[in-house]
């Protein structure tokens, strides 16, 4: 019912900025879908185009099997939660929640009781008669969500709803949002620039850059197998190691050491190719002593992340590699170690265009997963 179909959608602003560029996308009914990207990547424009607040330059847009490309916002049957919540300051909480029903011409008594019901479900019962300015940020956000829910749309559009909350509240609201979507089961498109938020919430993520989707996949896919260097650099709380390497005799030459060629890349590269080795700090093992596999170097910095340590190792040729080690297993600063990327997790990107080498998906190797639990 609430599925979305986007075909070669393009939006060019009057000032010539190409915010969305020939974009194709399908979102399934009931899906929690995240549009992720840095500012200016077109994600908010795409959301506003879905809402009908921007008219696309070309392309088509279907919501629930109906072509809405040229429809004004109202008949599209979507609800949007704005970054600043857009709660009307002159209305009480219950009137704010009931406003969409008023537009739908629901009788006054019915819409008030319905708004009160939705508000109560979201834990707002004690503040229904207050005004938005008297509420905290988290409460305002819940009022905005309640207003969207009371409208019972086919599609929720959320524009960075957590970015105005402080860090502690944001985690709480994130869990709340996920639970809410599980209950309501309405298709949700969620715009964020915070990769952790997208990974935590979404069923699928589209990582955008320059008006195009650079990768589309589940949080697991996007995290474990970024399709290109842009996504690789963008996803992950810890920055992925992206190390310049040369293919030499079936192995990779990195920072003066040899690292085995990851199995997914085997057969796709030739001797002498310039590549980038991608290895998440979480998917790299620190081994003591100078001899053996891995990139040899000295421990330069140790950072305590709470349950683990982030080790920064300086290898030859000015290469630095980071890896995490469990608490109590950390080496000392200045110690000679080797950092060995876990073979099944290591990725190889072409240096020329930054695309991932080896098109087929990695075989989910249980042994490799067990070796280092993924985040």
């Amino acid at each position: 019912m609430g599925n979305v179909r986007i075909r070669s959608l393009t939006k060019v602003f009057p000032n010539g900025v190409r915010a969305i560029d020939e974009l194709d996308l399908d979102i399934a009914d009931g899906e929690f879908f995240a549009l992720l990207g840095p500012s200016g990547c077109g994600k908010t424009t795409l959301l506003r185009t879905l809402a009908g607040l921007e008219a696309p330059t070309s392309g088509t847009l279907e919501i629930g099997g109906r072509d809405v490309t040229r429809l004004p916002p109202g008949p599209r049957d979507v609800a949007m939660v704005f970054q600043d919540y857009a709660l009307y300051p002159h209305m009480t909480v219950v009137d704010n929640i009931a406003y969409p029903l008023k537009i739908k011409k629901v009788a006054k008594g019915e819409r008030r009781s319905k708004a009160g019901e939705v508000g109560t479900n979201l834990g707002l019962e004690s503040m229904l008669t207050r005004r938005p300015a008297q509420l905290s940020g988290g409460q305002q956000q819940r009022v905005a969500l309640a207003r969207a829910i009371a409208y019972r749309p086919q599609l929720f559009l959320l524009d960075e709803p957590l970015s105005n909350l402080d860090a502690r509240l944001r985690l709480e609201a994130r869990t709340f949002l996920k639970r809410l979507q599980n209950e309501v089961q309405t298709t949700t498109v969620y715009v964020t620039h915070d990769q952790a938020e997208a990974l935590a919430l979404a069923d699928r993520i589209a990582v955008m850059e320059g008006g195009r989707i650079r990768q589309l996949g589940t949080p697991g896919e996007v995290f474990k197998r970024p399709a290109n260097l842009f996504v690789a650099g963008f996803i992950g709380s810890l920055q992925m190691n992206l190390l310049p390497a040369t293919v030499t005799g079936g192995a990779l030459r990195v920072g003066g050491s040899a690292v085995p060629l990851p199995p997914t890349a085997a057969g796709h590269v030739r001797d002498g190719d310039e590549v980038i080795l991608g290895a998440r700090p979480e998917f790299a093992v620190v081994e003591r002593g100078p001899d053996g596999d891995g990139i040899a170097g000295t421990v330069a910095i140790l950072e305590n992340l709470g349950t683990e340590f982030l080790v920064t190792v300086e290898a030859e040729d000015g290469v630095t590699v980071q890896a995490t080690v469990g608490e109590g297993e950390e080496p000392a600063e200045g110690e000679e170690v080797r950092v060995r990327p876990i073979e099944h997790r290591a990725l190889v990107y072409r240096a020329s265009d930054g695309e991932l080498v080896g098109s087929e998906r990695t075989v989910e190797d249980d042994a490799a997963v067990a070796e280092r639990a993924p985040v």
Binding site: G52, L53, P73, A79, Q83, A86, Y88, P89, I103, K104
Partner: protein, 289 residues
């Protein structure tokens, strides 16, 4: 511990500094009192003279009476002139607020090339070039329209003069209202009219109130335009009638003048207090950012 022999001159320096600071302070207060007195004296006259049997142009302790006010009520033009002022002020205010509201909203939300140039040119011509300079053409215009000696003529001219500045001020206010209010209402299916009525107008209300009061105060105090456009003394507003309070001897009738001046200033003062209390003359409408 041997305290380093801090030079005594440093304490002397501090003393000097203190004396200088005290003198500066005293000087400042003397200056402030002089300036304050300069502005307070006319006000004191305005408050005291109406209750004085024999008011002069100096501030003096009154020999109390309410007779001056009785004279005002007896004067054939004084009391009706206040009503005329109210009619002109409310009429002008209604036109200015209504038109400025629509114009400023449109100018704030729709991108037209040369929008700002248009606004500045309007503002320049209305506020700086008009007044005495435009009086002759305005008079001829109103005369040709057959609106001399009518409220409509005065209201139109006054509204025309106030509108550009009103639009300019309100547009700034509208620019400050987040668009997300309107957009969220539109996404919920509200029509343009519903958006204006339910969201924009209530949120912009403090701006409207400020413009309304500003327009009323401007009309209330305007002498030149009604003086030129209204011939019939029974239609003239308070600001013009006050000009005609002479005794038979050709002297300014201070008894009438002082009492009438007080009555004439009360509505403006009350309105200022009301707006200041309600909206504080701040340009935001409960919008927390």
């Amino acid at each position: 511990m041997t305290a380093p022999a801090l030079p005594r001159s440093s304490t002397d320096g501090e003393g000097m500094f203190l004396v200088r600071a005290v003198l500066a302070r005293i000087g400042f207060y003397v200056f402030a009192v002089v300036v304050g007195a300069f502005f307070a004296l006319p006000l004191a006259w305005l408050v005291l003279a109406p209750f004085d049997k024999n008011p002069t142009l100096s501030v003096q302790v009154p020999s109390p009476t309410l007779g001056n006010f009785r004279d005002v009520f007896r004067d054939p033009y004084a009391w009706p002139s206040l009503r005329n002022s109210i009619v002109l002020a409310l009429g002008t205010m209604a036109i200015v607020v209504l038109l400025a509201a629509f114009a400023s909203y449109a100018l704030s939300r729709v991108r037209i090339p040369g929008r700002n140039v248009l606004l500045y040119v309007l503002l320049l011509f209305s506020s700086i070039v008009t007044g005495s300079a435009a009086m002759v053409p305005l008079f001829l215009l109103v005369f040709d329209l057959g609106l001399i000696n009518s409220y409509v003529g005065v209201v139109l001219v006054l509204a025309g003069g106030l509108l550009p500045a009103a639009i300019f001020i309100l547009k700034d206010f509208m620019d400050g209202l987040p668009r997300s209010y309107e957009e969220s209402a539109r996404v919920f299916g509200a029509s343009s009219f519903q958006v204006l009525r339910d969201v924009v107008a209530p949120v912009a209300r403090p701006g409207f109130a400020v413009i309304a009061v500003w327009a009323i105060v401007n009309v209330w105090g305007n002498f030149l335009i009604p003086f030129i456009l209204l011939r019939d003394p029974s239609r003239q507003p308070a600001a013009v009638v006050v000009y005609n309070f002479y005794t038979e001897g050709g002297q300014a009738n201070l008894r009438l003048l002082s009492a009438f001046s007080l009555l004439y200033s009360i509505p403006v003062v009350v309105m200022y207090l009301f707006v200041n209390r309600r909206y504080g003359f701040r340009f935001h409408g409960g919008i927390k950012r």
